[in-house]
């Protein structure tokens, strides 16, 4: 079981309370597809991903980015039971989508960078550490049902 300090809980809830999901989600996913182009392999039916501008303007990417962020929201609301919260999604990503779990870390790094650029100085080392710990637990939970 993951131990969360009161400070970490408050920090995570605070970060997500201030996030514009419709903006940050698309920004994080499009950044991932641009910075780590091999991740595009999972989005063959999304249309034009030819260059950075196309990716950033692609409505399918934007829609999916928002879905991902709402997925993270589930974790925020269930920090003490992320394993069960993500069990179904883990099976989906493994059995149906066949996503290499290493990719979860890539998008979580991109999300960290997007949150950092939005929060600026408020994104201190401690805030970063809390977010990274949270995302690491999500990543681990999502990888759990792979076999």
């Amino acid at each position: 079981m993951v131990e969360w300090t009161e400070c970490e809980r408050a920090t995570i809830k605070d970060i997500f309370a201030k996030l514009d999901y419709d903006s940050v989600g698309p920004a994080a996913l499009s950044r991932c597809l641009i910075v780590y182009p091999w991740t595009q392999r999972y989005f063959g039916n999304f249309g034009n991903l030819y260059n950075a501008a196309a990716i950033m303007g692609n409505p399918n990417v934007a829609k999916h980015g928002t879905i991902i962020l709402h997925g993270l929201d589930r974790g925020v609301k269930n920090m003490d039971n992320m394993k069960d919260t993500y069990a179904e999604l883990s099976v989906l990503h493994s059995e149906k989508l066949h996503v290499d779990p290493d990719n979860f870390k890539l998008i979580s790094d991109c999300l960290t960078i997007v949150v950092a650029s939005r929060m600026g100085k408020a994104f201190t080392g401690e805030v970063q550490a809390a977010l990274q710990k949270f995302l690491a637990v999500v990543v681990s939970s999502l990888g759990r049902q792979y076999h």
Partner: protein, 141 residues
């Protein structure tokens, strides 16, 4: 592989950061210590508390080296030769830590540059820092 445009972008960004080398470097180091406490083991001989003289001077050193490399990326192996020797035979920092530091440097850049740290700049910078780390560990074995 870095394109000509990416090399120019990287050189420009690091040139603009040289005046605040101390702050960016110290910020990246502090972030690394907070998120990856194991990295502190390499600094047991220094005072790495926030705003300490050691932290600022060390942060500055690192950023200036990265900035110098950025001015002629094609010559990284030549520019970094002395640092290669230092890291291989004296410091012997496990190279996985270079990845951790690079990530924290990217976060520091994102905080500092905000919207200007575009996905294209991010991609170029990630590639450059990976190349830098690879060259730095070339003499390890």
């Amino acid at each position: 592989m870095l394109s000509k445009k990416e090399k120019e972008l990287i050189a420009d960004i690091w040139e603009s950061l040289t005046p605040v080398a101390e702050d960016i470097g110290a910020d990246a180091l502090l972030r690394m210590f907070a998120s990856y406490p194991g990295t502190k083991t390499y600094f047991s001989h220094l005072d790495i508390s926030p705003r300490s003289a050691h932290l600022l001077s060390h942060g500055k050193k690192i950023v200036l080296a990265i900035a110098e490399g950025a001015q002629d990326i094609g010559q990284l192996t030549v520019t970094l030769a002395p640092l290669q020797t230092l890291h291989a035979y004296q410091l012997r920092i496990d190279p996985t830590n270079f990845k951790l530091f690079s990530h924290c440097m990217l976060v520091a850049l994102a905080c500092h540059m905000g919207e200007d740290f575009t996905p294209v700049a991010h991609a170029a910078m990630d590639k450059y820092l990976s190349a830098f780390a690879a060259v730095l560990s070339e003499k390890y074995r």
